[in-house]
Symmetry: C2
Subunit: 274 residues, 2 copies
């Protein structure tokens, strides 16, 4: 399904991997971390191909959606097991976050709710001593307070020990301020690989009477629209024509990252996820 | 865990039921729909107690987190089954939404992803002919596009056939514009039952040098704070003191519903969810 993906992942950067349900985000994570092979294309880290490259792979950690731990193992035992596998794990951070999130170390893995499974996994992901951390839906099942706590902990951890994070999530607006670079995955390809700032600068909502909006946006890259009576909003991704005068009846504003993503990907053929 | 809840649910109103993970939102839904009994307190609909009141209960539909359908039944068969159970189901709406969400009617229930299970259940919830619809985490697993489609479909359906919706979700900011009335569930009690508008009017961020902010907010209902160097934000819920002058160094602004909720409930004892 995924092929011909070309990505070079840079050090000390926070990336957002955005894609519809079923677009292949988890598959891409598994390719990057060498769990499944890719037929064509190449993923490099700091310019080095990752395929079967142990030196690079040892610097990577993937927090995946799957549940990897023995179901009857307790939270505290899972931490100990992980600390044994990953040298240099920050046990003080594990302890602080465990307390802040209210995670009980005596609970068995299979007794944790979806939210607390995510919490356990994200605590480990933030505490292992690696240079590249991949987070697949880290906030699944978390309430608003816990999500805020996670975003704060991530930024705090990044400030103390800069490294690369790649975050995949459906809560796009909530991570818009965290991520420096956006990858949009569509139909098996990375269709956008751009800094968050540049991407936001290219997204516009053109609002006004239908006729005027349609005339003004003719020839522009219109990615979506809303209609309310005769009021029309055309969403544009790309440059506006500098020498084309904006009619008085029409207003131009920027849109947020989630709105931009929704419009960019709404034409995608809907498929049942797997 | 829940007791002494007193609620009267009004016709043609969209409510938001907000609570931390484990606060008991699903339990409350099960009490309201008479699936489990409540030890103390009373829930009424249009003033009528619902306990064992078939006439009222027949006008209620609950979309729950549980998976109620035979695992090998196909989506189309589930629709047929439901149409048989609930007279007057809007089959045209079922068909339109099925197409818009890209749900395949031939897929078996156990082959649907979390997102598409939610989609199947919310299509049914929007299409049954009842006066009170309870939606427990309707957007679980949905991507941003599907969430937007759901919010539009809900408003559209409400406009065509006004009725009551009660929505429980962790994506508070996304439903802030949909809901007219907010219930906050904390420690087994409804601690806030207020119109969204009034609630938002009572939420403030007081920002400035720590000393000035602390002095100005003394005696106010401070529900949370952020600190960055000497810059302090105190979050207040309630009235400001009208005759107390706001220092020039201090700025006062309103906060959004999610921020308000996070601060109101952050002191709650964190517990492992069940």
């Amino acid at each position: 399904m995924l092929d011909d993906i070309s990505l070079n992942i840079q050090p000390d950067t926070i990336y957002g991997l955005l894609g519809r349900n079923g677009a292949g985000k988890s598959t891409l994570f598994n390719i990057i971390t060498n769990r499944i092979p890719m037929s064509a294309g190449e993923v490099t880290i700091e310019g080095e191909p990752i395929a079967n490259n142990d030196r690079v792979l040892n610097r990577i950690y993937l927090m995946s959606e799957g549940n990897l731990y023995p179901s009857r193992m307790r939270v505290g035992e899972i931490f100990k097991l992980t600390a044994g596998l990953y040298q240099g794990m920050d046990l003080e951070l594990v302890s602080n976050l465990t307390q802040q999130f209210g995670l009980d170390v005596k609970t068995r893995f299979n007794k944790l709710s979806t939210g607390y499974r995510s919490i356990l996994k994200l605590i480990i992901a933030l505490s292992v001593d690696v240079d590249y951390v991949f987070l697949d839906e880290p906030t699944l099942g978390l309430d608003a307070n816990h999500r805020e706590l996670f975003y704060d902990a991530l930024l705090d951890s990044y400030a103390k020990r800069p490294r690369t994070f790649v975050i995949s999530t459906h809560l796009i607006e909530e991570i818009a301020n965290l991520i420096e670079q956006v990858w949009v995955l569509q139909n098996g390809h990375i269709t956008i690989n751009e800094s968050t700032e540049e991407m936001l600068q290219k997204g516009y909502a053109i609002t006004g009477p239908t006729e005027d909006v349609v005339a003004y946006t003719a020839g522009l890259n219109v990615i979506g629209q809303d209609q309310l009576g005769n009021l029309r909003v055309n969403y544009v991704y790309g440059e506006l024509v500098g020498d084309r005068a904006i009619p008085d009846t029409v207003s131009v504003s920027h849109i947020d990252l989630q709105k931009l993503f929704v419009n960019l990907t709404s034409q995608e053929v809907a498929t049942v996820e797997n």
